[in-house]
Symmetry: C2
Subunit: 432 residues, 2 copies
């Protein structure tokens, strides 16, 4: 029987993380990790598609409202019909002639589209009985290309080049999948280095991380240079010379200031500087990159669409592509950015942390490794230790690597109890 999307429910779910300073950085002192969450109900069979976009607390209600405004575009559609025209489906979600004025393809309306688009992919993968990354890996190169909107990126990535890149990797795909299933995927952890943590807490967490097998740790910087020097010394000492230390400025600097600050931390041998300046400042990143070389420049968690990533790559402004699976317009646009990165031969190290982002992006990284990326060199998936207990199919980490997700879907489904407990503003956690 044909599966039809029969209803969409949108939920506002917030975790009071600001109470512990988890997730604190120079720009975001007090985030409450949250999700504008949606559930696609289907007729016949009872499958549900789950998706969300990640938010920081206040304003989640606006993404929820935007999901509700976009939902009528999905209700009544058949899953088969979507699967047979993935590109058309995506354009129908982001190309509404009146709604696109509110972006276009950026901000709340794009994030809401991402939640719904990802919920559809969750549904597709569940119906096929495959984890999303395996569902994507099972698609033919032509099908992947057909899912991508090349509008405004065809100068850098014409469809024929995308197809060529995928085909070049297709013959030995099975071997890489087997290897990924066996060895997992490289990762780094952000959980030790939040700005709001004390030196003692950072030291303790970093020691524990190294003992657990992590060989790359990220630290938040940009509050005070004296603090950053002291804390990066602490971390470098614990990491030793062989492990990587990444630093993350979270957009607080002007361009020259970023260059000076990063140079002042040179002694700690940072592997990359993340978000040194405004996430919209492509030319600014290029200047920072020239100024801090050989320290790499990374950005992307605020990069709102494929057109911006295209330019970051064309301008040679970044070394590391940190796409976000629900700031971009969901899986379809993620595929576009994976292929753009491959075309420019830059590693994708997806943004994660928050709530549910690790669950999402593990699928992105595993698919990238299996079918797109030319090599594993420099590719690591971000990890943070928060809030995984709320998911039905949480990430699994072993010795500093992600293990391959096994259950059907996008790992995006939150437990019923968690959805109830943390519902905003009326769940028990927020009422008390």
């Amino acid at each position: 029987m044909k599966t039809l999307i029969s209803a969409v429910r949108a939920l506002d779910i917030r975790f009071p993380t600001s109470r512990m300073l988890d997730g604190s950085d120079a720009m975001n002192p007090d985030p409450d990790y949250s999700a504008a969450y949606c559930i696609l109900e289907t007729s016949g069979g009872g499958l549900e598609g789950h998706g969300f976009t990640f938010t920081l607390g206040r304003g989640t209600e606006l993404c929820v409202a935007a999901i509700e405004s976009l939902a009528p575009k999905l209700v009544g559609r058949s899953l088969d019909g979507i699967a047979n025209d993935l590109g058309g489906f995506w354009r129908s979600m982001v190309g509404d002639s009146q709604l696109r004025w509110l972006g276009p393809e950026k901000g709340i309306i794009h994030m809401a589209a991402a939640a719904l688009v990802n919920a559809v992919w969750d549904l597709l993968a569940k119906e096929a009985g495959l984890p999303l990354w395996r569902y994507l890996a099972a698609m033919q190169p032509e099908q992947i290309v057909a899912a991508i909107d090349f509008r405004h990126i065809s100068d850098a990535l014409p469809p024929v080049l995308a197809l060529e890149l995928l085909r070049a990797r297709d013959p030995d795909k099975a071997g890489r999948i087997a290897q990924l299933e066996r060895d997992g995927h490289a990762a780094y952890t952000t959980s030790a280095g939040w700005l709001g943590y004390s030196d003692d807490k950072i030291r303790e967490l970093a020691r524990a991380a190294v003992a657990d097998g992590w060989d790359a740790i990220k630290m938040k910087v940009g509050g005070s240079l004296a603090d950053d020097k002291r804390r990066s010394s602490v971390l470098r000492e614990i990491l030793g010379p062989g492990r990587k230390l990444m630093i993350d400025g979270n957009q607080v600097w002007e361009i020259d200031q970023a260059i000076e600050w990063v140079r002042a931390l040179d002694f700690a041998d940072p592997y990359w500087i993340e978000e040194p300046v405004s996430p919209d400042d492509i030319l600014g990143h290029a200047r920072v990159r020239s100024g801090v070389s050989p320290v790499r420049v990374a950005t992307g968690e605020h990069c709102h669409n494929r057109i911006m990533f295209k330019q970051f790559l064309q301008a040679d402004a970044i070394d590391v592509v940190q796409l976000d699976a629900c700031r971009l317009g969901g899986v379809n646009e993620v595929l576009a950015v994976l292929l753009l990165a491959a075309a420019f031969d830059k590693p994708v190290c997806p943004h994660a942390g928050g709530v549910g982002l690790c669950e999402y992006v593990q699928h992105v990284s595993f698919f990238d490794a299996a079918c797109v990326a030319r090599s594993a060199e420099g590719r690591m998936t971000e990890h943070a230790g928060h809030l995984h207990e709320h998911f039905v199919d949480p990430i699994r980490i072993s010795r500093g690597r992600y293990l391959a997700p096994q259950k059907p879907g996008f790992s995006s489904e939150m437990k019923v109890q968690s959805r109830a407990d943390f519902a905003f503003p009326n769940g028990p956690v927020w009422r008390s």
Copy 2:
């Protein structure tokens, strides 16, 4: 007695313009010109501040919701307190540590901030008894600079350069104001060239426009090249060789396609090509500009913040800065972009049309001409003939020029009856 902002009301107001194809272009076939509108109520004296952000129909409810989410930042503040710290006031509206994740400084959350910021400026000017442009012109260069957030643009426009630019224009300001009061400000009209209009309607409207004294007309292109050739011939014939014809692609092309298309219309001597490619594609605009020279490249109505405009200017990607007064975060960010344009010596021709945009941007153009721009060369304010009858202080046009607004405020106040008639979804126009 101190004026306090005591309450904020947000309204969803939509005009069914799609029924007439007014405003139709290659990307937007059927806009319903709308406003997410806000009213700031004050204690003592009964002054009201009015502001809005322009939208195209569906999704206006999301901007209204965002205004409501931001409103608590204003309620209880004194107008004096705001006037004494205009920069701090603006940062408080756009810099909320949780809400900024939803942009940052782009899309729905930024447009909602613009509505509120502009309503505050309306209130400030009304309290001073001056039209907004005269209120701004009466401020000292230091006060203007203090209202601007230089974060992420200081590499191109350090505060000291902004001050220098304003001071250089300060001594002969009074003379220019007198001239503007007498002669008005140059303009062009978009009302003749909507894509959905027939050739006959375009011909008739263009003849009427020329008879009314207009010497610059804009036409929508990008649907079919054959149509565009025919229609631009019609318009060029009516305009003769001495008047300007602008063309507007509304983002529908890829880069090479834009260059070819514009070259194919060379025979009609277009003055500028507007929005040839994605509004996010700074490097793409630079390529188009090289390819279509001497035709100028114009963009800005979708340019979401000062950081994007900075790069369009740094990359030498545009000739004409078409800022939008409520896509940018309101007057404070408009001031930043006026000064950026002055620093790069490019003309600002603000985006207007829609509903209320002409009322807004006349103040921007008059202030720019009085206090910022180095010359009047190439500066024209967009005009479209729709919906002015709904405003308390509508624009006044004479012989193809804007006359200087005279009444206190930002001309942003919509008539009570119009607000009631076009309220969505329960006003009489939408119920029927």
